[in-house]
Assembly symmetry: C3
Homo-oligomer: 318 residues x 3
């Protein structure tokens, strides 16, 4: 049953998406994905993973301290906006924001306090740039994109050429292109391409403190958990799920539908096929489990060998 | 002997805590915890882990470039403060700071340049919010809390529901509650609860670049080293010590007094009991060491087996 | 052949370093280090690792959205600069920047929007401090240093002494000294010394989201990839190369010329000699590979032992 159908049945108001599928009922603290639950009132410490929650019509949303995501359109007097920047209708620009030359900000987009956007940047409609986030010159952001606080889009990639007794910086003159409906977590960094682009496909969700290096190409609907790092020019195709603290070498390719467990390590140039992968270096989950079980059995193997040796030496004596 | 007793004996002035225990004397560069040491003058490169240091009364503290932690109370003219914000006595608010609506800042608290605090936030007394730190709407911070530069408190948790060909954002409408005497390192992120709270207990110390996900509950006097990540709804009880770059899955529980070594991995739902733990997946340190020793012995095992096989085939020939 | 010689041969203009060595020709998307390549026009998605690129004289550099690294000298009216700060000729100071008391900024240095510099800081010539970067009180930065967005230099190190039922903060009153030609990636943190200095040697390059703890000493021309963490008082000598997501315990020493692979773990106090190292705990790459091969062979060992046991028991029956 969908959230919309449930709302119709209970003659309630629907907040949120109308087509969330629900197939069970569960207690609020134990509910998970696909579960419908009920909340009397928000109490400190209450938490749920339910897909859908029924509350009474007089439910005090305020008790949840719901962050006021929708800001009244306003451009704060302290904001520094280039004369030739194009600012769409209904845009909110908070205190201490900067918008650079030849930059465009789409309708309904919010720049919260201290968000900074460089020159020749294109930012779509209905985006939210949280406080102290930064989009550097020449980058392009689609519609409905959320950049959390401290995000850095378009810093120079990490590329040097060793030249006798020093490193010479390889020019980092590409850009970053982020498509629609992308969300990027706090303090995550997405470097600009050396040449060409670093790309984040539509609908992709990236958690906090993630590192995306120059010229990485991430497909659509990819999920990347916190503190993962992706090295230069690696490709992650559509619909992959990457755990937290994963490290990927450069020029690797993660094929569509692959799932990589947390803390895994992908070697440079590696091709990771569809399926579930684990460990460093990554291997199919089944192999990883088998090997881990083997590992636990090494002590036993040593004992067996000691017994065999003893027996053989006894036979020899005979 | 306590630092206070030592100060009495040498008839010196005591700077810092009066009840630090000291039980040895050591040279300044080799001293560690519990050691008393002596410093003639601060020289470049000098470093110590001594618990207590004797210096002459004319010691030039300036030579140490001691950061001026205590700022003269002042509210900079550029700061943007909501009309209904409550600002306590002796508060310092630096340039380009923001304080949102219905927010309260306790006595003696310092917001250094560029620190930003959202709406309906409560910040206690004698806190320090370092430059460019950010506390989002509805979060609550106790007394004597230090947030280092770039800290993000209350960004949305990372929660989505897959719905056919897209991810739908699960509402992240809870808060973060940080109790008294907590210190949080630079660029660390603590996400708000989905519903309910993400909690950090009194006296807990968190290093730089740490990720704390939604609805995590961290007890009192917990120490977490740099770059560790804690997934959603995981509980870390009082007095745990967590190393650097540790990854914890969701819904795990680390019981009071557990110590987890650096780079360890805790699987989702895992219960980690009191004691010292190591490796991925975490195991008691003793087991980890034994297994590591076994691992180093695999080459030997292979040789043994080759010898045994040879001998058996020789016997067969006979 | 050098880039200069190539420019002479084609009678072209040379942009960039004149002494880059090139020894092959390769197609633009496949070229790597040491390759000469050719670019017709910049197209979305084009990317190369070529060391040298030939373009026509009418090549539209604008098509690459080259970031305007060189800003016209200017001090923005919103910047807050202490009266006694020394600002060199040709300095650019953007909107919402802060420069503290007794601080000096060298000739040609740029502080982009929102960059903040504390008191008694010395910053050399021709540096770039990207938006929202921060250098705290008393730190010292050489010439030609680049600090990317969100960098935090000089936050307190992570040091506490357990005192009965609480942690007492160990004073963090040292500084950070960064020598010439250093580049530091976005959201990287370099903590101040507890006493003495945290040091970064000339020509060293550090990627994004790296953690450098108090009193770490990093030599000259060291390269450190993203998300690596270095614990307190560890020494990395000249010309080392450290991969991404490496964790180093405290008081370790990495000797000159050592190369450490990504995700490796260096135990506290460990000495890592010249050569290539891998794994956790780090071991020479050869040993790591051998052990990994052994690991893959455990299943085989178990089978062998089962066969041997069967045979021995058969013999017994005889």
């Amino acid at each position: 049953m969908t959230s919309h159908e449930i709302a119709s049945i209970v003659k309630g108001e629907l907040h949120g998406s109308s087509d969330i599928m629900v197939d069970r009922v569960a207690e609020i603290t134990r509910a998970g994905e696909g579960d419908l639950s009920f909340l009397d009132k928000a109490s400190p410490g209450s938490t749920t993973s339910a897909s859908c929650i029924l509350v009474s019509l007089d439910f005090e949303h305020d008790a949840l301290n719901v962050p006021a995501i929708i800001k009244v359109p306003e451009i704060h007097s302290s904001a520094v906006i280039a004369l030739d920047a194009k600012i769409g209708a209904g845009v909110f620009i908070g205190a201490f924001c900067c918008v650079g030359e030849s930059t465009s900000i789409g309708e309904g987009t919010q720049l919260r306090a201290g968000a900074k956007v460089g020159d020749k940047v294109s930012i779509g409609q209905n985006c939210v740039l949280h406080p102290n986030s930064f989009v550097d010159d020449g980058c392009s952001i689609g519609d409905n994109v959320i950049l959390h606080s401290g995000v850095v889009i378009g810093a120079d990639g990490f590329g040097y050429v060793r030249d006798k007794d020093r490193y010479v910086k390889f020019p980092q003159i590409g850009t970053v292109v982020i498509e629609d409906d992308v969300e990027i977590g706090a303090n995550t960094c997405i470097d600009r391409g050396a040449l060409g682009e670093t790309q984040i496909g539509a609908g992709t969700k990236i958690d906090n403190l993630v590192q995306i290096a120059h010229n990485v190409q991430i497909g659509k609907r990819v999920v990347i958990a916190a503190q993962t790092g992706v090295s230069g020019s690696t490709i992650i195709e559509d619909d992959c799920v990457i755990g937290g603290q994963v490290g990927m070498g450069d020029h690797a390719r993660v094929q569509s539908g692959a799932v990589i467990g947390s803390q895994a390590g992908v070697l440079p140039g590696k091709i990771v096929r569809r399926g579930v992968w684990w460990g460093t270096p990554v291997q199919p989950l089944d192999e990883y489990k088998r090997q881990n079980a083997h590992l636990k059995g090494i002590g036993r193997i040593k004992e067996d060998i000691a017994i065999i040796k003893k027996r053989l030496s006894e036979e020899k004596k005979k």
